[in-house]
């Protein structure tokens, strides 16, 4: 059986998919009466034209890096985790409880506990759907969607009835103590003599995210567990035959996924708002799906995709500020990216694969 070269699979096809998605986005901008070229210039300027823009771009990218890795790990085990949103929200609760109720002497200790708290809550929220999938055959997509809604209701309840400070009307927790304040890029770069915007929220969590990406790569491609996860994802029957436990891998892969999604909340809850607010995840869990699909479920691909979506998010925000194009344009772009890199992948893949195979045959015939 002839195959197409690996570079076509890893680079060429995603690139064509993305080009189609962005071309259609440009068409949408044009259709609502704005100039797509100006819009792109404004987005680049707003997202990358200043350290303030960079600070927000990287801040959003951090969120998407975490959620993208979370979705990618589950995808590797062929589990579609739509529950990143709920797991990250619950992670936020874990982070908030740690930050509010444990007195920390220094942020460096606080962040370790906050990561653990977020990971624990996120993993716990992923456990039940995983267990139900493995043991009772309940479809993980449906259960994780349901768990997103249940998490939203639960957080709402906790914020309104338990964590809200007395006398406050705002459904949000109290502000975290100063000792949990994470160093932002401004704080970290100032000693080096580099001036970085003081108001941009990008913080040390980005570096943790980068380390996590390396960790996920190591886990998936350099450990026995990772091998089992990938084997399970490729062919469930064969891996069962090889002695891999369906229940074990389903639950472990989903809990790792949930833990990574939960850790995202260190970035937004502890790093940015410094208190737990309603809807703190703001759809980052869902963007993780687009990021994982675009990144082909590989940590490096996820990183690139997270940066691109960080740029889109910040650039789109600027666009909404200065033009009549609403913020929802990003949602449309995100949808088109998911559609073309995910569901309509075969539309591009089939003809290209045929072309490569034809070319290979012709070469063989000529020689």
């Amino acid at each position: 059986m002839e195959k197409m070269p690996k570079w076509a699979d890893v680079v060429l096809i995603p690139l064509i998919n993305l080009t189609i998605a962005f071309a259609l986005s440009a068409l949408v901008i044009w259709a609502i009466g704005e100039n797509p070229w100006n819009a792109v210039k404004m987005m680049v300027n707003g997202a990358l034209g200043s350290t303030y823009g960079w600070g927000y771009t990287l801040y959003y990218a951090t969120n998407f890096l975490f959620t993208g890795l979370a979705v990618a790990v589950a995808f590797q085990a062929s589990l579609f985790n739509i529950g990143g949103e709920g797991q990250a929200a619950m992670g936020g609760l874990g982070v908030a409880l740690v930050a509010l109720f444990i007195p920390f002497p220094h942020w460096s200790i606080a962040i370790v506990f906050a990561l653990a708290g977020g990971a624990l809550f996120g993993a716990a929220w992923a456990f039940l759907p995983a267990w139900l999938q493995a043991k009772r055959g309940s479809h993980i997509v449906i259960t994780t969607i349901m768990f997103n809604f249940i998490a939203a209701a639960l957080i709402n309840y906790v914020l309104v009835n338990k964590l809200r400070p007395a006398g406050s009307m705002d459904p949000a927790s109290a502000t975290f103590p100063d000792s949990t304040h994470l160093p932002t890029f401004h704080d970290m770069l100032a000693p080096l003599g580099i001036a970085f915007s003081k108001s941009a929220p990008v913080n040390i969590t980005l570096l943790i995210g980068l380390a996590l990406a390396v960790g996920v790569w190591f886990l998936l491609w350099r450990t026995k567990l990772g091998y089992e996860i990938r084997a399970f994802g490729k062919n469930q029957d064969a891996s069962t035959y090889a002695g891999i436990s369906v229940t074990r891998i389903t639950i472990i892969a989903m809990m790792i996924s949930g833990a990574i999604a939960g850790m995202m909340s260190v970035n937004n809850t502890m790093g940015e708002s410094e208190r737990l607010i309603l809807n703190s995840v703001e759809g980052a869990g869902f963007i993780g799906i687009a990021v994982a699909l675009m990144g082909r479920n590989h940590p490096f691909g996820v990183l690139l995709a997270a940066l691109l979506f960080g740029f889109l998010y910040q650039g789109g925000g600027e666009l909404a500020l200065w033009t009549k194009i609403p913020r929802e344009l990003i949602t449309v772009i995100q949808a088109l990216v998911i559609m073309f890199t995910g569901a309509l992948d075969n539309m591009v893949r089939d003809p290209i694969e045929r072309a490569f195979i034809r070319a290979a045959k012709r070469r063989k015939a000529a020689s």
Binding site: A31, I142, A153, L336, I338, M339, L344
Partner: protein, 321 residues
């Protein structure tokens, strides 16, 4: 609690259940044919926006209805192209379409009306108005049955009655026609249907079109019957609740009626009472809001009767070569 307020809660429950019922039946047709449809939510939203926008422009709710259904159909066909023609992942396609709907509705509404993603409020002939069934006023004085007839049965908009009518119609189409038999077969074992010389692709596309029309009606009702105009994200998760109801109903039309009515009623109760005091123990409103999802998870877990989905659901059909 007196009799009339109980009736009023049920009345509101029926109204809130209507979009769920339409969407649930849409999902029923789609999933019975073997196509998972996470995109119900998006279709409802698109239809709600187009129905309200076109009703505003033309002043006629009927043209609005056609526009809404057309919008939903376009999304259905896109889902079909991705999942039937190109054998893509149906779940991913559904997720993408939901995001597309959530973004594009605001973009279009903002471009057309400039109201921050809303459409102007609808009134008069731009909406579906309540229909008073004959004799509702005259019989109101009859004890017990009079108020029941007036409050609960009469006084809904046309689409509510259409939705209820769709239950026996769906049942008939699925269980008493040749088309229905083939549709159900294609969701269980498409290869067998193909062997019998019936086109799997055509059957699955037909199911997508039926789902598109039904979901369209759900959206039309939302913005022109239940509400008076379109607002950002106005579907508010109803597509997902319909999906939950579909599982609750074990993919059967009459059960779908029961499940959506139950979920509609839960929403009506949650709207009316913020926190319910059950003899010292207070049930928080958030629990009521989460109840449909919790019930669905319990049903899915198979602890209360097993919900078995159509066997070929979610798998693209590849003809053997």
């Amino acid at each position: 609690m007196d009799y009339v307020s109980i009736l009023q809660i049920f009345d509101s429950g029926v109204r809130l259940a209507t979009p769920l019922l339409f969407a649930c039946l849409a999902g029923l047709f789609s999933e019975r044919a073997g196509i998972f449809d996470i995109g119900l939510e998006g279709k409802i939203l698109v239809s709600a926006m187009f129905a309200a926008a076109i009703a505003t422009f033309t002043g006629s709710v009927w043209i609005g209805l056609l526009a809404g259904v057309a919008g939903s159909l376009v999304f259905s066909v896109m889902h079909g192209i991705a999942s039937i023609t190109f054998r893509g992942n149906q779940l991913i396609s559904g997720v993408a379409l939901n995001f597309l709907a959530s973004g594009i509705t605001v973009l279009i509404a903002q471009a057309w009306f400039g109201l921050g993603g809303r459409t102007p409020g609808l009134s008069g002939s731009e909406r579906f108005l309540p229909i008073d069934l004959p004799g509702a006023e005259a019989l109101a004085g009859v004890p017990v049955l009079g108020p029941l007839y007036k409050e609960l049965i009469s006084g809904h908009t046309l689409l509510v009655y259409v939705a209820l009518l769709m239950v026996p119609v769906s049942w008939f189409v699925l269980y008493r026609t040749r088309f229905g038999l083939r549709l159900r077969a294609v969701g269980e074992n498409p290869a067998a249907v193909d062997t019998a010389g019936v086109s799997v692709v055509r059957l699955r596309y037909s199911s997508m079109l039926i789902a598109g029309v039904l979901c369209g009606l759900a959206g039309v009702y939302l913005s022109t019957g239940l509400g008076a105009g379109f607002g950002k994200e106005m579907s508010a998760g109803r597509g997902y609740i319909a999906l939950a109801a579909l599982i609750f109903a074990k993919w059967r039309p009459w059960y779908a009626l029961g499940a959506t009515m139950l979920f509609g009623l839960l929403e009506a109760v949650a709207n009316r009472y913020q926190n319910i005091d059950m003899g010292g123990f207070i049930v928080p409103v958030q629990f009521m809001q989460a109840l449909p999802y919790i019930l669905t998870v319990i049903i899915l877990a198979g602890f209360v009767g097993k919900a078995i989905p159509p066997r070929a659901g979610g798998q693209p059909y590849v003809k053997e070569r």
